[in-house]
Structures are given as structure tokens and as C-alpha cells.
């Protein structure tokens, strides 16, 4: 018996003890890598067995190949653009030599947007939509949180609109924007406004709800401190209510940004508005043998960007929050 035990013990020792530094490193790096490895294996295994009308479902290597391709296409397009402008300048310079009165003109480059361009468009749209939503939602939430009357007036509306899908808003937003936003020289394209407003409408609610909750659940003792000090309403809000609600407000903002990113992709797909969603839709319509791989690249990019946005919010939240412990 003892022999068996002494044989098994070292086997158990293969798993490092939980408290050591090595164990923590192992848990922080090796385990996620192992998870990723298992996922890639399962993916390659399954991909080889799925045949679609656009060919075999892409496996990791095909997706990687297309990622490199998309980047190369972007580089090529940039070179083409640079060449386009260089040629124009040359031409203008040559013409100026002959005719000094000539006013040089530069025509803008009109090549199709690359994958990276679409990412930039999507990021700009999501950030402006989120910014507008924040500017609306935080003051609104504060008002609702401070006043029971306003809360009772608006809470049913909030609960009603909170679960509405972006796809339902989109046709309405599109029609209203094209009716109202009439300008000969628009500063931003209509499609940008459509996507942005849809994002705003959908990601408003978590921030409104969390702000209202944070504001209305200020510790009553702190409210009493404010009353004893006879703080003015403005001081009460800025010195007691807001700081105390900041952690909850930021939790709401984080949820809102996550929703904003998800909504945006859907809206771009449906409305054919420039951005990552349009890229996915175009590739789908394109139907080449590479399309599925390229869509998969977009899926991973969407995931990585979403993760990045969330990390940025978390860092911001840690920075402004007085509550040191924050969930991940």
C-alpha cells in the first residue's frame, strides 16, 4: 500500500501547489493558452467537416491567411492613394510652370474602403453614439435618481424601451434622418448619423438606470451629513451624490459601451452603412471562396475591439472610482 501511495504522490506533484508564484503564473498564462489551444483544435476539426456552398468552412490557418491578405490589401490601397495624390501634384506642378495663374486643384481619392478603414469608421461611429448617449443618460439618470416624481414618471418608459432591438429602431431612424437632416453640404454623412442614433437609442438605458440607481441609493447617513452641513443643492449633487454614485454609473457605462458595439455591427449590416457590419455583409454577398474566412477575420476583430473597449472602460472606472475592489 505504502508503495502505491509513494508512487502517486509525485504524480500529484506534477500539478504545482496552488500558493506558489509559479502556480499563479501557470494559472494566469498557461490555462488561458490551453483553453485557446483546445478551441483551435476543435475548430480545425469541425471546419474540415463542414462544407458550404461557398466551400469548406474556414479553419484557423485559412483565417490567418485572409487576415494577412486584408492587411496587404490595405497597404496596397494606401500606396495607390499616395501615388494618386503624388501624380496630381506632379501634374499641377508641371502645369504651374507653364501657366503661373493656374489654381492647382486636388481631387480626392475615391477607392473602396479597406478592412482597416471600416474598423476606423465603426470605432468613430460607436464612440460618438456612446458619447451622445452618455451626455443624455447621465443627467437624465441624475434627475430621475434625485426625484421620486420623475422616477415614477419615467420608469415605465425606460422599462419599455430598454429591451427594444436596434433593428426595430433602424427604419424609423433612417426615415427621420432623411426627412430632417437636409443639407447641401452635410458635415457628416447620413449613414453615419443613422448608425450613431441607433447606437445612442440602444445604449442609453443601462447608463440611465445605473445612474438613477446610484444617485438614489446614496447612503442615507451621507445625505444626513449633507443636511447638517446645509450644503446647497448643487454642492449636494457634486460633492455627495455624484462621487458616491460614480462606481455604479461607470458600471452602467461599461454595459452601455458593450451594447453600443454589438448594436452598431447589426445596424451597419442591416442598413448598409459603412463599417465592419457592412464589410461582413459585403463579403457575404460577394460569395467568393475566401468570403467565409474574411468574415471570420471580421468576427475576431469585432471580438478583440469589443474586449479592448471594455478594458479601457474598466481602466477608466478604476481610475475614477473610490471603491478599490472592482469586478473583472
Amino acid at each position: 500500500m505504502a508503495a502505491i501511495v509513494s508512487f502517486i504522490r509525485p504524480l500529484g506533484g506534477l500539478l504545482p501547489p496552488r500558493s506558489s508564484r509559479f502556480a499563479r503564473l501557470f494559472q494566469a498564462v498557461a490555462l488561458p493558452l490551453a483553453g485557446l489551444g483546445v478551441f483551435l483544435l476543435l475548430w480545425s476539426f469541425a471546419a474540415g467537416r463542414i462544407d458550404t456552398s461557398l466551400g469548406q468552412f474556414p479553419d484557423p490557418s485559412m483565417v490567418w491567411e485572409q487576415a494577412v491578405n486584408l492587411y496587404d490589401e490595405h497597404r496596397a490601397s494606401r500606396e495607390k492613394e499616395a501615388g494618386f495624390y503624388a501624380r496630381q501634384e506632379q501634374r499641377n506642378a508641371a502645369r504651374l510652370k507653364v501657366d503661373p495663374d493656374y489654381e492647382p486643384r486636388i481631387r480626392p481619392y475615391t477607392g473602396p474602403p479597406t478592412f482597416l478603414d471600416q474598423i476606423v469608421t465603426s470605432l468613430l461611429t460607436v464612440l460618438s453614439g456612446f458619447l451622445v448617449a452618455t451626455l443624455l443618460a447621465v443627467p437624465w439618470g441624475i434627475a430621475i435618481g434625485l426625484s421620486k416624481t420623475l422616477h415614477q414618471a419615467f420608469n415605465p418608459l425606460i422599462q419599455l424601451f430598454k429591451p427594444v432591438s436596434p433593428l426595430a429602431w433602424l427604419p424609423l431612424v433612417t426615415m427621420v434622418v432623411s426627412a430632417v437632416y437636409v443639407s447641401d453640404d452635410p458635415t457628416v454623412p447620413k449613414s453615419f448619423l443613422n448608425s450613431m442614433i441607433t447606437v445612442t437609442l440602444c445604449c442609453l438605458w443601462p447608463t440611465v438606470i445605473n445612474t438613477a440607481m446610484g444617485v438614489s441609493s446614496v447612503n442615507p447617513d451621507l445625505v444626513n451629513v449633507s443636511r447638517v452641513l446645509r450644503l446647497s443643492t448643487l454642492d449636494h449633487v457634486t460633492k455627495i451624490v455624484l462621487p458616491s454614485a460614480v462606481p455604479v454609473i461607470f458600471t452602467g457605462l461599461r454595459i452601455s459601451l458593450g451594447i453600443a458595439w454589438m448594436v452598431l455591427i447589426a445596424a451597419e449590416m442591416l442598413a448598409q452603412n459603412p463599417g465592419l457590419g457592412k464589410f461582413v455583409w459585403d463579403e457575404f454577398q460577394n460569395g467568393s471562396s475566401n468570403s467565409l474566412s474574411r468574415i471570420m477575420v471580421a468576427v475576431i476583430a469585432i471580438g478583440l475591439i469589443g474586449l479592448g473597449l471594455d478594458r479601457i472602460m474598466l481602466t477608466l472606472q478604476r481610475f475614477v472610482s473610490w471603491e478599490k475592489e472592482q469586478e473583472r
Partner: protein
Amino acid sequence: MNDAVLELSRVSVEFSTERGPLKVLEDVDLSIRRGEFVSLIGHSGCGKSTVLNCIAGLVSATKGGVILEGREVTEPGPERSVVFQNHSLLPWLSVYDNVALAVNQVFRRTKSKQERAEWIEHNLELVQMTHASHLRPREISGGMAQRVGIARALAMQPKILLMDEPFGALDALTRAHLQDSLMEIHSNLNNTVIMVTHDVDEAVLLSDRIVMMSNGPAANIGQVLDVELPEERDRISLASDDNYNHCRHEVLQFLYEKQRKIETLGASASDQKPEDESLQEVSNY
């Protein structure tokens, strides 16, 4: 009764609850002299905190009123500063900034910036907390936080210092330490202090007078005891002092013979402040 700073005249307080009005206090009469240290003692739920909140202006009397130096109390104010049970420091501000918030609010017109800074330091010194002035409430112990709470209340230069079970949440040793500090501060500054407590020893040790409350609902003052002990008190020598033990005995007798609390399950709603009800509504979101 001419030297009374504060007078409670036939104060009754009724809270409206879902099961109809609840009378917490009925006809409480009390008069407090300048420089006096008065303890309010009673079983939990007897409304002693409500008396304090009435004086603070946080709860308004349904009938009767509170008169401070000839004027009726209608709202809270820094001349009746409160030390809350769980220190109630703003967790996002440092110890210094917590006191500064009060000082800058109360003395924004009457003291220069320099004077205010000195006054903040002075009050932190008073409670021996200067060494931690840059720390957040979270980073100091409960006893230290309560010291800061006292510093903040003292810094408002109140006519009356109100303390709502200030040491109730602390362990026995820390509590004894803070009681000693409070005695020292009180003998130096001679403030008028009203303290709610349920600790008999604390009440006898610190007070000039002990106000014993009958059980609620519709609680009232049952008995008032003058503590005839010297100003300078030492907890060790008092333990064998006849007068001290007599006072203790009186209070204990009141609490456990005359006003014996019959514990009924779920019946101690009368000590709840109205704020507690609004807290519960948060869960609706």
C-alpha cells in the same frame, strides 16, 4: 431654567407606516444646560435616536418642538452637529478633506483660507488623527474613523454636539480609549453634548445626567438621573466608587426591572428612521 441652551417641549413624533401611523414619542420634555453632558439610554426601539434626530432637525416633531437658544429648530444645521454611529465619512475623501468639507462649508465667509487650514489641523490634533490625515476612511480602523467623525463634528463649532451611539460599532478596548478621549475633549472645551447609548457603563462614566427612556411605542422619559461624580473621572478608580455603583444600579434597575423589554418577534419597527423605508425602494430597479 434660564440657563437652558436647549429645550424639548412636549415633543411627539409620529411616522406613517403601511399599517397606519406609528407613534414613536409622546410628550417628551427635556431641558439641557450649557456645558452639560447628557446621555439618552433605553432599550432598542424606544425612540432615543428619534429624540436625537429631532434635536438635529433630521426628523421633525409632529407635535411640540425643539427650542435652541430661544429659537425653534426647523431644519438641520451645523450648530447642532451630529456624530453618526458608523462614522459617515465620505469614503472618496481623505481624512483631512472630510474635515475640510465641513470647515469650508461652515466657515467659508468668516475665516480666511489660512485660518480654515489651521482650524482643520487643530481639530484633527484634538482627536489625535493628524498622522493619518492623507488616508481614506477605508484605510483606517473603525475607531480612527470615529475619531475623525468627532473631529468633523467639533470642527463645526456646534452649540450642541449630538452623538448617536458613537461607539456602538467598536470593540470594547477601542471604545474605552475613545471614551477617555471624549472625556478629555469635553473637559477642555466644555461643549454641550447629548449622546444616545445603550451602554450603561458608558452613560454613567461620561454623563452629568442620564435620561432614561421608557419603552415604545409612544415612548417617554421614564426617569432622569443626576450623576454626582467629580468632573475628572477615572474608569479604574470608579469601579470601586459607591456613587458610581449606585448610579449604575439605578440605570440597570430602570432598564431591567421597571422597563423590562418583552421581546416579541419582528416588533421592533419603531426605531426605524423614515430613511430606511426609502432605501428599500431601490430594489425596484
